[in-house]
Amino acid sequence: MRGATHAKWAALATAVALAATGCGGGDDSGGGGGADGIVSSSWGDPQNPLEPANTNEVQGGKVLSMIFRGLKEYDPKTGEAKDMLAEKIETTDSTNFTITVKDGWTFSNGEKVTAQSFVDAWNYGAALKNNQKNAYFFGYIEGYDKVHPDKGEATADTLSGLKVTGPQTFTVKLTQKFSTFPDTLGYAAFAPLPKAFFDDHAGWLAKPVGNGPYTIDSYAKGSQMQLKRWDDYPGEDKAQNGGITLKVYTDNNTAYTDLTAGNLDLVDDVPASQLKNVSADLGDRYINTPAGIIQTLSIPFYDPDWNKPGQEKLRQGLSMAIDRNQITETIFQKTRTPAVDWTSPVLGEEGGFKDVCGDFCKYDAAQAKKLVAEGGGIPGGTMKISYNADTGSHKEWVDAVCNSINRALGDNKACVGNPVGTFADYRNQVTTQKLDGPFRAGWQMDYPLIQNFLQPLYYTGASSNDGKYTSADFDKLVNQANAETDIKKAVGLFQQAEEVLRDDMGAIPLWYQNGSAGYSERVENVTLNPFSVPVYNEIKVK
């Protein structure tokens, strides 16, 4: 008995020792300086497999922005859609497009980028059986309803609107007029895919291959990805550094702390709570630039209590009870800009950005109180502003918005934050219309067009119209704008639609989100593009 138990001790000790020596590994933060220097950057674990048409959040988007180049590329500064792989995109009727792909581009595995690379990729992205979350991007292309029916099985494998007409040319037929269609082609979902993607899908997912300025060197899912400069990259926007190491952080506070401790070169989302320390910690190694993101409060129009005639005054009053200046200064340290319309400053004036909201977006406690009373008061006496508590530190600003409303209305019970534990559950409650009060909504543009800020969000029955706002006038103006081939006139019509939205206060605009990033002394020339993704290929290591 005694002997046996001693043996057990020994066995236990061996097991522990084995486990202990099982792993290890060195530290690889260095990599030399100059043009071959490696930049380490904060990252979050991508939610979906890294397929272009399946990536709909910024973390996966960071990788795609490095390893893929599409027909168009949005200018990192202006957001303007410029030709990248597109030689030319021609149309006469805004419905049929002929696209010529530039010669001389290859994927990093040597395969040539042809018209077929695009058509295959788009067919893959649109097909229902592939579960691509961005499939709806192909919804304007003829035949989409066959490969991706709303109900039942697909009756076709490929989009009938796509035809390869030569090695480098293909045609696209849309189901409706869409004059700005070419400008949407810079979105990652429209990227070309190599044969390897289809032949060895699992292998491709483990180590994606694309045609961008970087190649993936190693990918340890959930912890880090190492990307190397692709020396034979044919494009002009070659990488200015030796590579990028993306490190996964669960908490962006920790990432920031790591940056200040010198263990990380770039944090592209400085947490609000640390913004006060930025100048002390980083000096001028901090950037804060507008991004195409707007935060709003959606109104539950599907709830009869929130959809009574005359309640536009209530909604306007609530909008005026929010002290946007104070909140963006105190909570966000000016990394948000108080909203004056429902679009984004990155559009620029020609793009349609304009102070449409006027006084309704300015804080005025007395007027707010009056309007809320005229609008019948808050339904039920208390309103809950719902948000998801797991990501994005929404709690601070929701609490601040509620406190602002409570102070303006002189009632500490008028508004209260309602955290929902997980994002999935939050989205569930939004889509199943369980929320009986306003809820937070954040919209990041897919492409820098005013249409993208209005139609998906407020058009009757639109995919992201979660509050179920509906207005015949608004819909009519949007339809007119889409059919208009003159860009300037189209923008004007969209702005008129926006005025309808203002008079109804179909959603309460809060603020435009800036991209904020901090970086270490090792690197320079760090910028964020209008999608608030760092322009990795331009970063230089000292």
Partner: protein
């Protein structure tokens, strides 16, 4: 014939989950207690019970630790019931213009990130924390002692089934269970949090209760009562419960503090209590983001929480010392 206590079962009553949520801290303290109640030579249940409790009380009255922690708890109870006695403000009255400001006249603890008065919120937070702690402990104690007591008293198949069920709940890591169960809760009351604590906390008490009931059952006087034809319910109520209760009370007192701390941890993970409820957990977790710039926001609610937890642990300690004749 009652099944003899297996050493492993007794030992496992101590199993605790110390990590993260600091839930079951108290468990191990039960170790010494399991041997306590009754004692080998019983001279009669009622007399013994009375003398154990009255001895303990005599001890406690002279114990400074007990007096101090008792007074702290009394103070907390009073301000939980009448917070306005010492705080005149409204904990929901917040002015963002004053966010993160430090101490100033009329606002001794300064303001938090939303510009709410930290002093007022700390005072009002006591009620929530005590409610969570007391109700969760009561729930755990009642459910745990009933299930554990039944398992111990009836033994056999009852014991087998109940003990396996206890194991099932015991095997789920507490913080994890909290994240899963509470993430879907929409109510802003304290009930879901309390309910979760009871659901995953009862095995702790159940094991201790089972152990002490088995010990008590083997005492001569209980065997004698059974031989005299006492009914099951009479035996349970008159003879076994008084003797088996002591360890449960001790562990429960200490556990109370840990439930208060657990509430804060849940808030930190984003699944704890929700506004407009005012709680230390909520305040600590939002202040933890700002600890570099405004440590006072963290200091006061965390201090209040620590003192409360401390008071309950010390009270439990004192009670255990008083109830454990071997340490006298």
């Amino acid at each position: 014939m009652p099944e003899p206590i297996e050493p492993y079962e007794e030992g496992r009553a101590i199993a605790a989950t110390g990590a993260g949520g600091a839930t079951d801290l108290a468990l191990s303290e039960a170790e010494t207690l399991e041997k306590t109640p009754g004692g080998p030579q019983g001279t009669g249940p009622d007399k013994k019970a009375r003398s154990l409790w009255s001895d303990a009380w005599r001890d406690l009255r002279r114990n400074p630790v007990f007096i101090i922690s008792g007074l702290v708890i009394l103070f907390l109870v009073v301000i939980s019931i009448w917070p306005s006695l010492i705080a005149s403000g409204d904990p929901l009255d917040c002015d963002l213009a004053k966010a993160q400001e430090g101490s100033q006249p009329g606002h001794p603890f300064g303001f938090n990130g939303q510009g709410c008065d930290v002093y007022t919120r700390t005072v009002y937070g006591a009620r929530t924390s005590l409610t969570v702690g007391v109700l969760a402990t009561l729930g755990v104690a009642v459910l745990g002692s009933v299930l554990g007591g039944l398992a111990g008293f009836f033994g056999g198949a009852w014991d087998g089934v109940l003990s396996r069920i206890t194991d099932v709940f015991f095997a789920i890591p507490v913080v994890l269970g909290g994240l899963v169960l509470l993430s879907v809760v929409t109510s802003s009351t304290v009930w879901p949090v309390i309910g979760f604590m009871v659901l995953l906390g009862w095995p702790q008490i159940s094991r201790i209760a089972r152990g002490s009931v088995i010990t008590a059952k083997q005492n001569d006087y209980v065997q004698a009562a059974r031989a005299l034809g006492a009914s099951n319910s009479r035996m349970l109520l008159r003879h076994i419960t008084p003797n088996a209760l002591a360890p449960v009370i001790v562990v429960a007192t200490i556990a109370l503090g840990t439930y208060i701390a657990l509430e804060a941890t849940l808030s930190y993970l984003g699944v704890g209590l929700k506004p407009p409820t005012v709680s230390w957990g909520i305040d600590i977790s939002s202040a933890s983001q700002y600890v570099r710039n405004a440590p006072h926001m963290l200091l006061w609610p965390a201090g209040a929480l620590a003192i409360t937890v401390l008071a309950f642990i010390m009270l439990g300690d004192a009670v255990r010392d008083a109830l454990d004749p071997k340490l006298r």
